[in-house]
């Protein structure tokens, strides 16, 4: 779940290393001089082009990691990347891969699109590659959190290496809670949350906020609430069961989640229906809202005094819940394009990344949604990124991981859209929550048939 934290830069802003330039010139010269031998020459200098999005870890790939890997291979492999804004990323994936394009050797994908890549045979599985070619290096999974692999492990194999893991974080203003005499979390129920939001709405500060204007962001707000009602059996994504039948309103949990959203509306800022991911961080940095629950990758700037007026005053913990404490996870993965002409090199690059240093470069580039265990265990890193304390609470409270986004179906983005439209209609008061959930079920069933 990405949060558009970085300004989007075009493909042309990537600064090529001097070596790349020289090599490019050399290749061009070679091409002019001896056309037919180009292929043979290209064989010993491979460029891996990666489809990236605009969050910190992808910055690292096209800069520090690219340099490190180039050095590691002795110049044999170069890395280039093209950054897409989140909204355009999905379109880019579909347009590129549905046409069998080999422009990108490695494609990054958010959780929700993974099945689309795999079921369309647009990506090559990592483990089958290794099975086919034992000379390939082993993949080191053990140093990484397992959470994100909930989504990319199926049909008996892992399809991706994951770069990040995001999870909902309950962000609260410690100072405001103290002033109001409210005992801080962890593990509130939503009644406590509502009560606190009510009390904290004063002096131009809203008690809480949601991001109802964006499809993915709004679905987060709804799902954070849905996940607290029933324990989730493994292999279930909460939205659809194994037969792809809608289950999101089992035991009325969808309706209850909508009602939970509606009850805090009066304590949200006026712009709540238009907020999308980019609107989240400023709300807290500027002190517009006191409490908010949203994805971890949205908040890295909160404790940076240069952009946040209330740095140091934020607390982070697990999401409130009504029944069971579960934490859904999501995150970006990296896949090998099935149409790539450099699949072996792509595999080798991903295997190299799993050795660890690349993930430290993610962190150095400002990424907070870390999954590299040595980093997560390091007191220095924890001190540097207070947000990560949410994992302490998760461990301490026995909160379990669960998968949520409609990750199991090929047309997940479409299904998410349908559910979003119904949820927002209910939150806006156009429909009763019950009617909205019924309509959502109907539409999802239809979409699954089509």
């Amino acid at each position: 779940m990405p949060k558009n934290l970085n300004p989007v830069r075009g493909a042309h802003t990537h600064t090529p290393s001097r070596r790349t330039v020289l090599k490019g010139l050399g290749a061009a010269a070679a091409a002019t001089a001896v056309g037919p031998s180009l292929k043979a020459r290209a064989g010993d200098a491979v460029n891996l082009n990666i489809m990236l999005t605009n969050i910190p870890w992808t910055d690292a790939i096209s800069s520090t990691i690219a340099e490190a890997y180039n050095a590691h291979t002795g110049g044999r492999v170069t890395i280039t990347g093209e950054q897409m804004p989140y909204e355009a990323h999905y379109e880019k994936i579909i347009l590129e891969l549905s046409s069998g394009s080999s422009t990108f050797d490695i494609v990054t994908s958010d959780t929700i699109w993974i099945r689309q890549l795999v079921n369309n045979n647009w990506v090559t599985g990592l483990e089958p590659m290794k099975a086919k070619d034992p000379s390939l290096p082993d993949l080191n999974w053990k140093d990484f959190l397992d959470g994100p692999y909930l989504f990319s492990t199926f049909n008996g194999q892992r399809w991706a290496i994951h770069a990040t893991q995001s999870t909902p974080v309950f962000v609260y203003r410690k100072d405001l809670l103290e002033q109001a005499g409210i005992e801080p979390p962890p593990l509130w129920n939503w009644d406590q949350y509502l009560d606190a939001a009510k009390k904290l709405t004063k002096n131009g500060v809203s008690g809480t906020a949601m991001l109802l204007g964006g499809q993915d962001a709004c679905m987060g707000d709804w799902m954070f609430r849905v996940m607290g009602y029933d324990p989730n059996p493994p292999g279930n994504d909460f939205l659809l069961n194994d037969d792809n039948e809608p289950i999101f309103n089992e035991n009325d949990r969808g309706v209850r989640a909508i009602e939970r959203m509606k009850e805090i509306l009066p304590y949200c800022p006026q712009g709540v229906f238009n907020f999308d991911y980019p609107d989240g961080p400023p709300l807290m940095q500027e002190g517009q809202a006191a409490l908010v629950v949203h994805w971890l990758d949205m908040w890295p700037g909160l404790d940076d005094p240069s952009i946040s007026k209330f740095a140091g005053k934020f607390g982070y913990t697990v999401s409130p819940t009504d029944n069971v404490s579960q934490h859904m996870v999501a995150g970006w993965g990296m896949f090998i394009n099935a149409f790539s002409e450099h699949q072996r090199e792509a595999y080798e690059f991903l295997a190299w990344m799993l050795e660890g240093p690349a993930y430290q470069m993610f962190r150095e580039a400002g990424e907070t949604t870390l999954i590299y265990k040595p980093d997560l265990a390091s007191p220095e890193v924890k001190a540097q990124i207070p947000l990560l304390s949410v994992y302490d609470d998760i461990n301490r409270l026995g909160t379990t991981y669960t998968a949520f986004p409609p990750y199991k179906v090929t047309n997940a983005a479409e299904v998410q859209r349908l559910v979003y439209e119904e949820v927002i209609a209910a939150v806006a008061g156009d429909k009763t929550p019950q009617a909205a959930m019924r309509d959502a079920e109907d539409r999802v069933v239809k979409a699954m048939r089509g």
Binding site: F273, N274, I424
Partner: protein, 286 residues
């Protein structure tokens, strides 16, 4: 000698149109494993006729276009008349008011989204200074359509002004003096002389603006993405969603064709019933 022209025209114009027509008769979901799904006759078109969301979008587009064009016509005309007076400083102001027209719609969308922000935006701040309570604007189900219309009017009134100003400038002077002497008040001169004499120019400006307005996408996508709760979900935004969210390209193509036909019918009706060609010919003869 015609061959190169024909080839170029076919390549850039007819082929893409023909291809999109062909796709509109297919189930075309490149995002699904079953792709390509194949020819389905008129199913996309039948779906379109039953599609409540498409009707909703069409209705919003009609309201949006009529309001935006109407408001920019009134304001643009008023400005054209004002600037037709010889008042000091107007020459500079005349250049300044053209600026909105020159701004990229994406930038317009981002800028206004920030200005319309109910909590941090400058508009509510200024209204607050004169005691008006802050409004939801883009975030309000009741005001979002109005807000995007305001932005469209802001951006395109200069265009309206430019055409109407040129028209006002080219009017002969004596009919107005005749009317003044014949006993007509200012209001009567406006309604009985100015307006009818400007008719061909007004019709042209309205036609150009309306065709442009029904296709508005960028600013609204930047400001609301069609929300909240689809209150600004114009046809262009719905089409974008069908094509690039649902990747239902065949249906998107069918919708686009239906919309194109509807738009053409509207334009033809406008030209016929407004007497556009007749009044243009009269202006020519004048």
């Amino acid at each position: 000698m015609l061959a190169p022209t024909f080839i170029v025209l076919t390549a850039v114009g007819i082929y893409p149109l023909g291809y999109s027509l062909w796709i509109s008769f297919n189930d075309y979901h490149p995002s699904n494993p079953s792709f390509p799904q194949g020819f389905i006759w008129f199913e996309n078109y039948l779906t379109a006729f039953l599609d409540g969301q498409a009707r909703h979008a069409l209705g919003l587009t009609a309201i949006f276009t009529v309001s935006s064009v109407g408001a920019s016509l009134v304001i643009g005309f008023a400005l054209a008349l004002l600037f037709n007076q010889r008042l000091p400083g107007l020459a500079i102001a005349r250049t300044l008011i053209l600026i909105p027209m020159l701004v990229t719609p994406i930038a317009v969308g981002i800028t206004w989204r920030i200005m319309f922000n109910p909590d941090l935006g400058v508009i509510n701040y200024l209204l607050g200074l004169i005691g008006i309570p802050s409004q939801g604007w883009l975030a309000s189900m009741n005001q979002s359509l109005l807000s995007v219309i305001v932005v469209d009017v802001w951006q395109w009134t200069p265009f309206m002004f430019l055409i109407l100003f040129a028209g006002v400038r080219s009017l002969p002077r004596s009919p107005f003096e005749s009317a003044a002497i014949d006993g007509a008040s200012r209001a009567k001169i406006f309604f009985l002389v100015t307006l009818p004499m400007m008719r061909p120019v007004i019709l042209l400006a309205v036609l150009l603006r309306a065709v442009d307005s029904v296709r508005t996408f960028d600013q609204i996508f930047m400001m609301t993405r069609g929300g909240p709760n689809q209150t600004t979900d114009l046809v262009s935004l719905y089409l974008q969603r069908v094509n690039f969210k649902f990747f239902d390209i065949g249906y998107g193509a069918a919708l686009s064709w239906l919309f194109l036909i509807l738009l053409m019918a509207a334009v033809i009706a406008f030209i016929r019933y407004s007497g556009f060609l007749r009044s243009a010919a009269e202006k020519e003869a004048r």
